[in-house]
Symmetry: C2
């Protein structure tokens, strides 16, 4: 089976609030939007922000609010970018949940939650190459 994820969908309470976080904080541009969903074309897949109730109904299960056991990471090209991005995200409605520091494996990273509590790691990891299309390769 193809080693492929097509979509990551985050359930959100308010598309207006979330649009600000993703468009102003990250500076990303939506590729599609209607009254209950926003899609972003990412590096080889699609990120969706979907009304939380609609996502739960589609999935056919209750979804807890707050922070589930997962995280999404955005890697930046320079160490100094980590703090700059975290500050922008905080200004755009995010909350810093871990100040940036050096993890045991090296590099530099901090965590910000989006307005719905989804965990975003902002990381500088010089070992993992990122090409001009944003495609990220595992490397040790």
């Amino acid at each position: 089976m193809q080693q492929q994820i097509s979509v990551i969908t985050l359930g959100v309470e308010s598309l207006i609030r979330s649009r600000k976080f993703y468009e102003v904080g990250f500076g990303w541009k939506a590729v599609f939007e209607n009254e209950e969903i926003i899609f972003f074309q990412m590096n080889g897949f699609v990120l969706g922000l979907w009304d939380k109730g609609s996502l739960a109904a589609d999935t056919g299960r209750e979804m807890t609010s707050g922070c589930g056991a997962y995280a999404v990471a955005h890697n930046v090209p320079e160490k100094n970018d980590v703090q700059a991005v975290m500050d922008r995200l905080a200004e755009a409605g995010g909350q810093i949940i871990r100040e940036a520091d050096t993890p045991p494996q090296g590099g530099f990273r901090g965590y910000v939650s989006d307005p719905d509590g989804h965990s975003w790691e902002i990381a500088w990891n010089p070992a993992w190459p990122i090409d001009e299309d944003g495609h990220v390769k595992f490397a040790v």
Copy 2:
């Protein structure tokens, strides 16, 4: 800022149990593994399965068990593949949470939770092209 997600990390209780779900169920091959983390090279980013306690400690916050308000999707090339993949995932330790049917926007999809409750949508969406490297494009 680059419109890019580098890593999706799912917190798991048991790497052995999760390895079975992802390697046997999806048929994916890990690119790296140690006693607390498994990485898969995906279509332009990396999927990590990380010991849930270590992920929570790294993130600096408590993480609830069960199902947060998000879902990850794997799109398949043919409508008939949806049920076949869901069955394989269920045999490999997943649980079918929504039987496959046609959503309002068309296509065909069902949902399976992985052994830790992470929601996976298995979808046939003929509108969204997937290239041979697994890169998925938004389209209407």
